[in-house]
Symmetry: C6
Subunit: 76 residues, 6 copies
């Protein structure tokens, strides 16, 4: 990908950090399947599957570990 | 999501930290599938599956790692 | 849940830490499916499946990482 | 379980540490299904499945992270 | 493999670090199945499966943890 | 296993560390199923499955975290 989408792991709040973790998780999908039409077609399949939603939350959790450590857990 | 749901990873006790890990895990699902009606429809499917419950506990465990580290393991 | 079940991650021995990791893993299931009758009904399904037992051991391993770090690996 | 099987995470060598990680992984299974006859019956099922063997190696890898950190990676 | 493909985990930016994590993830596949024709044949199967794309993103997330830690989270 | 296959987690380069992570991942399989004939028979099954290859890369990624930390990320 040629666009710049990630310049820092630092966020102001934990919630922004969590949302960055979501972005990281989605980018992992987009790098593997860049065709947005395919991704849109797949969406109903996984947004209506309990297993797929749990798996998505799992990937977010792993990325959130990284973002939280980067921000020293926003300990202030 | 526009609501504020996560302002700190710090909790008073390990149990509150574990419960925050559950909140983080559920938010990962809700960000991916925000439609509460769909989520309610999926609930019986995964709350009655041993595999799905283990997978849910796995995501909580990953998020609990993050919360526990943030709290320096409540070492006091 | 209103009961208090987790007041500390500190244990005397690694084995007690491992057993606390098992408790954490089971609590993740119980928070998601609090109905004990359902959980009992599911037990034969997963206690007789090699894949389910491996998955259970996986969750325990993740929680044991947390407990072991909290105890500074019982290095003495 | 009333027997004592884990008194320390410290090992002399990385290989002993890896083998301790295997022990930890198997104990996770045994705590969940203590009946040795059931476990023996399940063995051919998973020892002949590529997916199950990869999953077993995954759990060992997670436990090896813990053991390796406990031993400060045997850096000497 | 005899070619040199990984000489450092250090990158200039988080995005380059994320892309290195993708390289690491793909190499794990190539070491296991070095035949590029087989890999090309498998591609449509997993690039059109929501579950497979989530699994790919998961592996990237694990490798990104490593790369991010190596770079001290690009804290500057 | 009575042979000595792991005497150190320290490697000269990140790539050698990655290859050690592959060795660790394969050993996890071999400890569980030591019969090389069975392993050879299973190989086509998983070397031609996108899901199995991703799972293999996942285990390597977990072991690479350990090896990379042991080597202080080859920061020089």
């Amino acid at each position: 990908m040629s666009d710049i989408w990630l310049t820092s792991l630092i966020t102001d709040t934990p919630q922004q950090g969590y949302e960055l973790a979501i972005t990281l998780s989605r980018r992992g999908v987009k790098y593997t399947q860049p065709d947005m039409d395919v991704l849109k077609k797949l969406r109903p399949e996984y947004a209506n599957s309990a297993d797929a939603l749990t798996a998505a939350s799992h990937v977010i959790a792993v990325n959130f570990q990284t973002v939280a450590a980067a921000n020293n857990y926003w300990r202030g």
